[in-house]
C-alpha cells in the first residue's frame, strides 16, 4: 500500500487532525518496564564527557606547558599568536596576553564534535535525556527536536567538517615536524612523535568516517553507476562510517592523551623515550 498510493487518495481515512481527542493509550503508569541497566550507558557517557570537558577546559585556559621541543599539544595547534611557544605555525597576530592561544582555535574541533551525528545521539541521550534510553520516557513536557534555533544549527556540521580537515592537515604537519630533534635537525623519533602521529591518524579516521563526508563524497548521488569513482569513495567511507562511534571516542581519548603527554614533558615530569 505504501508503495504506490497516490497522495491523499489512498483507501485510508484522512488524519484526524488535532481537534479531536486522541483515542486512549494503554494505561501503564511506569516510566519504563525495562529490567536491564538502561541507565548505565548514559551515566558512563556523562562521566567520561564531563571528565574530558573539565580537563580540556583547564588545559585550554592554562596557557602554559603546551610545547616541549619538538612537540606541540593538539589543543594549541595551530598556534597563531605571537605569544606562542615554539614555531610550528606562522604567528598571525598579537592577542591580549591573558587570552590563551587555544581559545582562538578550539571552536573548530569543538563545533565539529558538538554537531557530529554520533555525539548528538550521545549527549541528547545522556545530558538532555531525550530519551535517556530506548522506550524510557523522557522528562520533558514539550519536544521540538532540531526544528528551531539553536538546534537548527546542527545542520552546519559539514562546514565544521571542512574546517576540521584543515586542522587535521596542520596536526599531521605537527607530527611530521616531530621527526626533528630539539635543535631542529631532522632524523629524530621519540615516543612523542608516535603519540602525535597516532593522534593525527585517529583524527583523520574520525573525520573521514563522518556522515557528512559520506554524503559529500557520493551519498548525494542517485546514480552511482554514472560516477564509479565517487561510488568507490562512498563505499570506503561507508565502511568506515560503520565505526564512526568507535573513532569518535578513541580520537577524543587520543587528543587528551597527546596533550597530557606534552604536559608531562613540558613540566619535566618525564623525559621523552627516544628511538633515534
Amino acid at each position: 500500500m505504501t508503495a504506490t498510493a497516490p497522495r491523499r487518495t489512498g483507501a485510508v481515512t484522512p488524519g484526524r487532525g488535532t481537534t479531536e481527542t486522541p483515542p486512549r493509550r494503554a494505561a501503564i503508569a511506569a516510566r519504563t518496564l525495562r529490567t536491564d541497566r538502561w541507565w548505565l550507558q548514559p551515566l558512563v557517557t556523562v562521566v567520561v564527557l564531563v571528565l574530558f570537558i573539565a580537563y580540556s577546559t583547564v588545559r585550554a585556559f592554562q596557557n602554559a606547558h603546551y610545547f616541549s621541543e619538538p612537540y606541540i599539544s593538539p589543543f594549541y595547534s595551530p598556534c597563531i599568536t605571537t605569544d606562542c611557544e615554539g614555531d610550528t605555525f606562522p604567528e598571525l597576530f598579537t592577542g591580549p596576553s591573558w587570552i590563551s592561544p587555544a581559545i582562538y582555535i578550539l571552536v573548530i574541533p569543538l563545533g565539529f564534535r558538538l554537531t557530529c551525528y554520533y555525539y548528538r545521539k550521545a549527549y541528547y541521550r545522556s545530558f538532555w535525556q531525550s530519551p535517556p534510553a530506548c522506550a524510557v520516557a523522557e522528562p520533558h513536557r514539550r519536544y521540538t527536536g532540531e526544528t528551531r534555533l539553536p538546534l537548527l544549527g546542527q545542520n552546519l556540521h559539514r562546514y565544521f567538517f571542512y574546517a576540521g580537515l584543515v586542522f587535521n592537515v596542520i596536526l599531521t604537519y605537527d607530527a611530521v615536524l616531530a621527526f626533528r630533534d630539539e635543535t631542529g635537525a631532522w632524523g629524530h623519533m621519540g615516543l612523542g612523535t608516535l603519540v602525535l602521529l597516532a593522534n593525527a591518524a585517529l583524527l583523520w579516521l574520525y573525520s573521514v568516517s563522518c556522515h557528512s563526508c559520506r554524503h559529500i563524497v557520493g551519498g548525494r548521488l542517485n546514480s552511482f553507476s554514472r560516477h564509479p569513482l565517487r561510488y568507490r569513495f562512498w563505499t570506503v567511507v561507508s565502511r568506515l562510517n560503520a565505526h564512526h562511534m568507535k573513532f569518535a571516542w578513541v580520537s577524543l581519548f587520543g587528543v587528551a592523551f597527546a596533550d597530557f603527554y606534552v604536559l608531562l614533558l613540558a613540566t619535566d615530569t618525564i623525559s621523552d623515550l627516544r628511538f633515534f
Partner: protein, 251 residues
Amino acid sequence: MSYDATFRVWRGDAAGGDLQTFTVEVNEGEVVLDVIHRLQATQVGDLAVRWNCKAGKCGSCSAEINGRPRLMCMTRMSTFGEDETVTVTPMRTFPVVRDLVTDVSYNYEKAAQIPAFTPRPREADGSHRMQQVDVERSQEFRKCIECFLCQDTCHVIRDHEENKAVFAGPRFLIRLAELDMHPLDVVDRKHEAQDEFGLGYCNITKCCSEVCPEGIHLTDNGIIPLKERVVDRRYDPLTWLGSKIRRRRPD
C-alpha cells in the same frame, strides 16, 4: 524440558486496564508468542493478541516485552531466566484496542500522505533501466515488514502525542529516503520531508535502528542521508549557489 514461568500481561482497553500475573508452562524452543497462545488456550480465552506468520515476516505481533519493543514471535524464551518474570504490554505509542492489540492506523494515514513513486519516462524500447548499485540503497528499506516497532519506540511521538500531527516517524522518513535515493524517481521530496513530515524532529538517537527486527540501519542509511540532502537544499549556500550556476547537476 518444561518449566512454569511467571508472566505479567497487560489486560484492558481504552477505558483502563492493568498488568495481570499468570503462571504458564514453557517448553524448550518456544518464543513469547507461543506462551501467550498457551495462556489464551488454557487460562484466558478472551485474551486479545494480533499475530499471523509466527516467522518474523508479517509484522503483526509487535508488543513490548520487559519494556522493550519486540516481535513476540522472534523473542525466544531462552533469553530469559526460568525465574524471571516476563512482562508483556501493548505498544505504548498507539491507542489500545484491547489487551495486546493496538490501533496502528496513524501509520497508514502517514503512509498515504507520502508523494508516491513517480518514475521518469520510459526509454525508447519501453523499458526502465537501472543498475543494481543505483538501487541497492533503496532496497535495504524495502526489507521493512511494517511492524511499526520503530514508530513505537521513537520518543518524538511515544512521549509527545501532540507531535503525531507533524511527525511521520522513522518508518516513513526511510520511505521518503528510499524514494529520494531511487534512480528512476523524479519527485523532489526534500522540502516536504522537512516541512510536512517533520524530519527536523528526529534527533538521531537511533532507537529505531536498535529495535528494527529486520536490522535496517534506519538512522545511518536513511534518516541521516535524508537530513544531509535537506541541508543541500536549505542550509548550504555553496550547494545552492552551485546548482544556480549549473556547475552542479541536479542528481
